[in-house]
Symmetry: C2
Subunit: 595 residues, 2 copies
């Protein structure tokens, strides 16, 4: 019925009669002529309604914003000087011959081009919000990304196999969404947190190369970049090692950026987990920020300043510096604000030195702490950080985790700040990297036990098998994350393919054989039947697209997202259900009054 | 690491050294040489282990079924007379140079090529069951089908938009799977029965052409071809009419058959719902069966035989015949068996006439009922059915539904029987058709109210709007089903795009405005803002692939299906959960003892 999309009308169609379907984005009367900006998913075109066709003109007079219209008209050049270079159709307009109102609209609760809508308004009227060109663009790009992922993996011999949504609750990891069973009184399905075990089973079953773009579910307290249901690009392959898996998936992301965005990603850097923590205090460093940590733990052991010497001499403590080139010009107010900022991450304070004039020795330094540092420590600090006149040096001294978190966040904060951007501390580029060699285990202080950093199916490095028992903290995993601009895009590992190694990991995690059998018996069973070496990776599609679109929130790349209170403001989900439904599911409410 | 898949080794690689990864499908010793059929997802290749490489040979001696192996060897021709024409690799074998056991296997609980495994065994050991070549082929074809669907729709400008899995319970239609909310005490999400409303909202939002291959959920009692979670190819488009939507989706299925199966589907027949019921007693007739109903209601009004004249003179009754060419040779036992069969569908009996010799008049007919038919009725029966010597005519006389169900099932049963296949009553072809012009409503006798045949968002035919009120039974919908070989592959409709028409349908269905607002308020709201004309279709992917693979069960085209008791025998889902989990979800069990 339509001959082309509104947004695709261009000089190529000059002189032709076109039929268009779309929405009145704006209507204005000017000199006795009615102009309608007609909008569809591809963009806008200007439609001119002239009074010399009275019937059509009368119809045009009734048109209001968001009316759904069918237009037949002739493409002609816009009058000189009225072109709009922002639009594909900006050099032309359509002289309207026929106008049919396919469906009128009541007055929308807001203007579509209002940039200052609250998120509540946007999510409540999501259908109108989705009509906004930016949202159309986001979701079209999301589709393009997913499709390019599929095309790439298809070419590489991966096949999409669907795994179940109604599965078993495994109370490791995050909280499950549960689904009561009607047929089996007192029993529950769980929605999958990831298809991890199923994809491993598919490898054991010999499918060789698997992928799926699938919904995963975590019933966690929501943060800005989290949703109760999120979409994972899930990949697994047999018979390949770490490097090969990384090469394939890096190739995928590279191709997706090229084809969906026209961007050629630079060469990926590769850092070990240890290096990343050492230099950036983060396992997902934003390499666009041109700042690095300087290690000072050894230097500060002997200073007569408990704030530094305490952490420096305590096992698990760390003292590190962050040199900010040009930072000496920061005001006391700015430094105080950063001091407040690092407290969010558990830092007790934020020591600093302004390097005003290196030539003047201690007199050229301005600092509340420099008096506490003996000459050797001060000299090492300046030498190692590579300090120059005009720099500011921040210090972190605490448990390593606190130093890493606080100074790592400070690094990013300064890099992204107006100061950072104007002082060359931030490169507005795509900065991808691999972080590799994650530890197998980290110690959960509260529970006083070792927990898996990735998940308990991750293989240790060759030769590290015995460390699982002897020195869990030193045991390195065949695990890796892909990081882009400070976001973890995806993570994965080579998996354990031998039952006896898997059992050792369960031992290290203090999962009893009985527990392991109940929870993961089907995996242990499968591993016995000639399971192949295998590994993979899972990417967060929502995050990837958020990065690619530079959207402000993950919710801007999801058609019907939930709020941070896990609600759908459009449909009103979750909602009340009938007593009959609960009865059939063999459950009752604990607090009927609450419902 | 591998140079090619086992199943792809062929004469093209003659003389080359290949590296293969796979599983020992079979191992046999023959004349001091060990033969291993090495299997991967692409098929088998014969590996020959010669004792002249002692280390390799020793490793080969330890190999048992389902060991995971890496093989390096040279491709050579099989000795003349030992070729296997069933295999791509059937003309060659690989002379093994190196053999590495990547992972041994305990003895599997069954032989992979055992054709007589119980479904319980297969589902319990699903990982091994999935290694069977037939299952690998099924799931690879499933993938190919899904990918071809995507490619086709992509070319047609459709975009995949994900709709929520955690949504609102709408107690219309089938039973919902519910998900208790932790954040909102006493409230529940529902898993979607289909993305119907969301895809309509996406049309209102202007996405123009949408598709999704997505999981849907229905908590129904399971039949052979049903699963609690199933996969839908969901399609919706704006600004197109019925014919255009059918043309696009027919083109899709045609392309999928061509590319995934190498099959060119014939021209689709098109029947109205009324015609389909009239001729075949079914809205999903299997057109491979060369039998049709003959209408006799008018003819039997005047016979002195209550069994026929009763239904013929009662509103809603029907008398119809099914002529079976050559059926006169059926034994009394066979006819009795069919009589029992139709009782399943509510028929009280099965009248019949054997046409032995038309030339002899009544004497040439053998029948328990012919004596009750006056000459005119008998003459009409023979004339209308086109009876010939040797035919058998069955009769159905009852409420129309019973006649249609019983005689319709009988038609298919006879067509598929040995008799039908040997008497030319069954064509083993692909027989697709469209059934169109479904009624808007059917009368639910029990509840004494009209219910929607498709769903309440289906548009009536132009000009039928007023019938919704005046004569709901006569109101025809813009609804259509795609049928293939007796299976409903997909169904859809043009939707209502005007709020006032939608309200009329709710009226006809006795859904009060208040109820409609609570359940579908967001749809009614959206329709106010210039909703475009739109419509679509949803296909069952599981069914489509079952048909294409000629699998015996839908469970043979799903990697990890549920049993008919909605259980996963592999993982043991559903299962018990912790009291803590229930407490967090604000629910408790009704029968703690049952759990």
């Amino acid at each position: 019925m339509r001959t082309t999309y509104c947004g695709l009308v261009s000089e190529a169609l000059m002189g032709q009669t076109v039929t268009l379907m779309g929405w009145a984005h704006r209507r204005r009367d000017h000199g006795g002529v009615i102009f309608i900006d007609l909008r569809d998913r591809e963009g806008l075109v200007q439609v001119v309604c002239d009074p010399d066709r009275p019937e059509m003109f009368a119809a045009a007079e009734d048109v209001r914003n968001e009316f759904c219209l069918k237009i037949v008209g002739k493409v002609r050049a816009r009058p000189a000087g009225t072109e709009n270079t922002n639009l594909t159709s900006g050099k032309v307009e359509v002289l309207c011959h026929e106008l049919e109102v396919l469906n009128p609209s009541v007055t929308p609760p807001f203007m579509l081009d209002d940039e200052h809508l609250s998120e509540t308004t946007r999510l409540t009227h999501r259908v109108l919000d989705l009509r906004r060109p930016a949202m159309q663009k986001n979701l079209m790009l999301r589709y393009k990304v997913a499709m390019e992922v599929r095309k790439y993996l298809d070419e590489q011999g991966f096949i999409d196999v669907e795994t179940p949504m109604l599965t078993k609750s495994t109370p490791e990891g995050a909280r499950d969404y549960l689904v009561p069973s009607r047929v089996h009184d007192g029993q529950f399905f769980a929605l999958p947190q990831s298809p991890q075990l199923f994809k491993q089973l598919l490898m054991v079953a010999g499918f060789d190369r698997y992928y799926q773009i699938t919904k995963c579910f975590r019933d966690e307290d929501l943060r800005a970049d989290r949703q109760p249901e999120f979409t994972q690009i899930d990949i697994e392959t047999s018979f390949l090692g770490e490097e090969e898996i990384r090469a394939i998936t890096e190739g995928m992301v590279r191709q997706v950026f090229r084809r969906a965005l026209g961007v050629e990603l630079p060469v990926y850097q590769q850092l070990t987990y240890a290096e990343a923590m050492h230099r950036y205090g983060s396992d997902k460093p934003d390499l666009r920020v041109k700042l690095q940590f300087t290690e000072l733990t050894d230097v500060m052991k002997t200073v007569d300043f408990k704030v530094f010497s305490g952490p420096a001499t305590t096992p698990g403590g760390r003292v590190a510096a962050l040199r900010v080139p040009g930072g000496a010009e920061m005001s006391r107010g700015e430094i105080d604000a950063y001091t407040e900022f690092v407290k969010i991450y558990g830092a007790k304070g934020l020591a600093w030195i302004k390097v005003n004039d290196m030539g003047k020795g201690r007199d050229g330094l301005q600092s509340p702490v420099v008096k506490n540092l003996h000459d050797a420590a001060l000299e090492q600090t300046l030498a190692r950080t590579g300090a120059r006149n005009g720099d500011l040096i921040f210090f972190g001294a605490d448990k390593a985790k606190v130093v890493n978190d606080a100074l790592g966040a400070l690094r990013v904060k300064i890099g992204h700040s107006e100061f950072g951007r104007t002082h060359g501390l931030f490169d507005d580029v795509w900065a991808p990297l691999w972080v590799v060699d994650f530890p197998m285990f980290e110690h959960d202080e509260e529970a006083d036990r070792w927990v898996a950093v990735h998940h308990p199916f991750t293989a240790p490095k060759d030769g590290h098998e015995d460390l699982m028992d002897a020195d869990p903290g030193a045991c390195v995993a065949k695990a890796y994350d892909m990081v882009l601009n400070g976001w973890e895009l995806g993570g994965g590992s080579v998996r354990i393919h031998r039952a006896e190694v898997q059992k050792k990991v369960f031992d290290a995690l203090k999962i009893t054989p009985e527990d392991a059998q109940v929870k993961f018996g089907f995996l242990l069973d499968a591993l016995q039947y000639g399971a192949p070496p295998h590994g993979g990776l899972a990417f967060g599609l929502d995050r990837l697209v958020t990065l690619m679109t530079k959207a402000e929130s993950i919710r801007d790349v999801i058609a019907f997202p939930k709020t941070q209170r896990a609600q759908c403001l459009l449909t009103g989900a979750p909602g009340l259900v009938d007593e009959k439904q609960l009865r059939e599911l063999h459950i009752r409410l604990r607090n009927p009054a609450a419902a």
